[in-house]
Subunit: 237 residues, 2 copies
């Protein structure tokens, strides 16, 4: 494991277990670096992670402090830093995926543009309903280029596409761009999410990339408004 990761994990554990008093600054970077037998840069990098998680804040010339409200807050909802797919995110819940549509087609202009592919590259067009503990949770409409994501079949779609990508195809997911908006329910939403005419849906539009920079997924996830909150931590630089 990388040194800065190990140190970061250890410091996170200490803070959660209140090893350090939340009323005082934690030890300064040089002392911690000595304790962990690393350079100050590496110590700094380890603490940077906790700062970006909203667990610590720094005051130049003064010290590094614990953000009290962070200690007992465990992030239960989907965050900004995660990009896992439902299966891993709600690993302890019973998840069911039913396939509403599973086609191969030529991409529209919009889809081709988002996936950075030519219009003659076939794309999978998948619509799935995901249920959590038997309750409808989200409808996902997904486009994936067939040349990149191969061997997709109904068995995979009933389970986890993300696991297929990372474990079977040995690809590495690098990140995504997302847009989040509220919308009125479509007929499809009402039917499958079992929502009323005046129940809003929360839509997450996403383009996800591999570590090669190639977009492998363009998707719209439409969530029941009463079952999904998108969380985000923003730290100004």
């Amino acid at each position: 494991m990388r040194k800065y990761e190990y140190i970061s994990n250890e410091m996170r554990r200490r803070i959660r277990e209140e090893y350090y008093s939340a009323d005082q600054p934690i030890p300064d970077e040089l002392s911690l670096a000595k304790e962990f037998d690393c350079s100050r840069m590496t110590m700094k990098r380890a603490l940077d992670i906790l700062v970006s998680e909203g667990m610590l804040y720094r005051k130049r010339g003064h010290g590094t402090f614990i953000i009290k409200s962070s200690i007992h807050d465990l992030p239960v909802s989907v965050t900004d830093r995660e990009n896992l797919g439902l299966t891993k995110l709600l690993a302890n819940k019973q998840i069911e995926s039913s396939i509403i549509q599973f086609d191969v087609e030529f991409p529209s202009n919009e889809v081709a543009k988002r996936l950075s592919i030519e219009k003659n590259v076939p794309v999978y067009h998948i619509i799935r309903l995901r249920k959590v503990e038997g309750e409808p949770y989200v409808i996902e409409k997904t486009y994936m280029p067939s040349n990149l994501i191969s061997e997709l079949n109904e068995e995979v779609l009933h389970g986890s596409v993300y696991r297929h990508i990372t474990e079977t195809l040995k690809l590495t997911i690098a990140g995504s761009h997302r847009k989040i908006r509220a919308d009125k329910p479509t007929e499809l939403d009402r039917k499958y999410l079992e929502c009323a005419y005046d129940d809003p849906v929360l839509e997450v539009e996403q383009v996800a990339f591999l570590n090669t920079g190639e977009p492998f997924e363009y998707s719209f996830a439409r969530h029941r408004y009463d079952k999904f909150v998108f969380s985000s931590v923003h730290i100004r630089k």
Copy 2:
């Protein structure tokens, strides 16, 4: 200006102006470091920023590449990295703020907890309607501790509270935690946002912190669903 910021800006400009071919890796870090007369670490840090913006991706052992779709995408909507307040965000638009409520009160348990203050510390309780180019845009319900954010008055509320905080009070905003959800419109929403019974709203709940780690704002911004999209870039580490 910091060296890595300058370099980062220059590289962003070059990429946008297609100084580098998008089909090839950009020059390696050591060459760029020589060109910019900096160490490789500093060059790396400058490029890190562009990677986190979704403009570049790296392939270890291979090089650093431009994400094509990023070149012409200008971020028009609110992003994850911004925390500015409307006034600065839409600086070229005509923004009008009307005050629906402006009170001082003792905080509820929930508000006291979010702002990390005692229940005997008075908080401002503000409701504003923000209009952009004459059209209703968002209703903001905001709680701010009166001991931290002082000298708040109607004049400030008609303009920019963020400017008041940064310029008049000389405080530094460090970041925020946000939750985004869809909701049905309340009576207040319908009245001021001029939306129908079945028009959803997009709610952004936010706790914003100063660089001292003290929360200074707990707010709910309720947006018309047809006028607001929340954007987010997520890069896996």
